[in-house]
């Protein structure tokens, strides 16, 4: 019962607070839908998977968008709002994992893998490459469509392979 009175007081205070804020914000324009969307675009629905907050049709998402609008009215900036959402709903509301702990792997593994690929390719090239002088196929540069030459070379090579196979 004391709890109930306490809750009532809180709600009343909040309502009064909103009135005051509303009076104060009457001088500022209400944050437009575009301003809300600009932030909502970067956040993701905590309930559904992989759906950005600005297009999510659920009631919950509508409430969150209103929350963004309310925070904007109170003068919060974009980073503050995003941090608030992360604090309230967890790391999954932002599009890239915060770089901490194991999440570093997200940013490290692909570049490392690609570099590893480059290295493997480089080593392979080195072992395969013969200097240009040893190779006796030099396309004469003045021939226009190199295709006809290479086309014929292709055929010859194919013939050779066929012959080699039998």
């Amino acid at each position: 019962m004391a709890l109930k009175r306490y809750l009532f007081a809180i709600v009343l205070a909040l309502l009064l607070g909103f009135l005051v804020a509303d009076a104060a914000s009457a001088q500022q324009p209400t944050p437009s839908d575009d301003q809300v969307n600009a932030i909502a675009k970067q956040l993701y629905c905590p309930v559904c998977e992989n759906i950005p907050l600005d297009v999510c049709p659920t009631t919950a998402c509508a409430q969150w968008r209103e929350l963004i609008r309310q925070k904007l009215t109170e003068g919060w900036n974009e980073q503050q709002i995003k941090d608030y959402f992360v604090q309230q709903y967890g790391a999954r509301v932002i599009g890239t994992p915060p770089p901490s702990g194991i999440n570093w792997l997200v940013y490290l593994v692909p570049p490392v893998a690609i570099l590893a690929g480059v290295y493997i390719l480089y080593r392979a090239f080195r072992s395969w490459k013969r200097p240009l002088a040893e190779v006796d196929i030099q396309p004469t540069s003045l021939e226009p469509p190199a295709e006809t030459d290479t086309a014929q070379d292709e055929y010859i090579r194919r013939m050779e392979e066929e012959v080699r196979k039998r």
């Binding site: 709600v11 009631t59 919950a60 409430q63 209103e66 967890g90 790391a91």
Partner: protein
């Protein structure tokens, strides 16, 4: 049917490096498969199972109270996940409050409501609407629901006096009797 011949020198140098490369490749493949298997197994587990020790957590209520393991020790705890935007939650809200008032004088039962991915204003509105008196707080960072591996709302977990999970309900309670029937056996002698 013919094998592409390789010269003897190349053959011997081939044997050395592919051995090492082959081992690495196999280890990588098997490691990947093992990790994915682990992941699938864990996913298949579903929510925390009856009989297991429950994850510990501290709930900060909307009033600012901190309710942690010390406050929950030795009591039967009913942990209810809800959200203001969740229609089925409303079905059980009145029943939960009534049952809470029934057990409250006893001091060895604790009801906790966790608002999952909800906004404060809407949560308080919901609490007000159903005149809820037991402690409620937001699931900050969705840590509590993730620890319990919940898959939605409403879900209720009843924890016995020893901290083990005794009862799980993954949908709204249909009556006060159902709730009482789940709690009474845990009250003990």
């Amino acid at each position: 049917m013919s094998e592409i011949p390789t010269s003897p020198t190349e053959l011997s140098s081939q044997k050395a490096s592919p051995q090492w490369g082959r081992i690495v490749a196999w280890v990588a493949i098997i490691a990947l498969l093992v990790v994915v298997a682990m992941v699938l197994l864990r996913k298949q587990q579903g929510p925390v199972a009856v009989g297991q020790k429950v994850p510990t957590f501290t709930l900060t209520t909307f009033d600012g109270q901190q309710i942690g393991p010390e406050q929950m020790a030795g009591k039967v705890v009913l942990l209810n996940f809800w959200a203001s935007w969740c229609k089925p939650c409303e079905q059980e809200a009145a029943d939960l409050e009534a049952v809470w008032r029934y057990y409250q004088p006893q001091e060895d039962v604790l009801f906790l409501g966790v608002a999952w991915t909800d906004t404060e204003k809407a949560s308080l509105g919901y609490i007000d609407k159903f005149d809820i008196t037991y402690p409620n707080g937001p699931d900050l960072g969705t840590t509590i629901s993730q620890a319990y591996r919940t898959t939605g709302v409403p879900e209720t977990y009843i924890i016995d006096k020893n901290g083990n999970l005794a009862y799980v309900k993954l949908s709204p309670f249909t009556s006060q009797a159902e709730i009482k029937a789940a709690i009474d056996p845990l009250l003990g002698p």
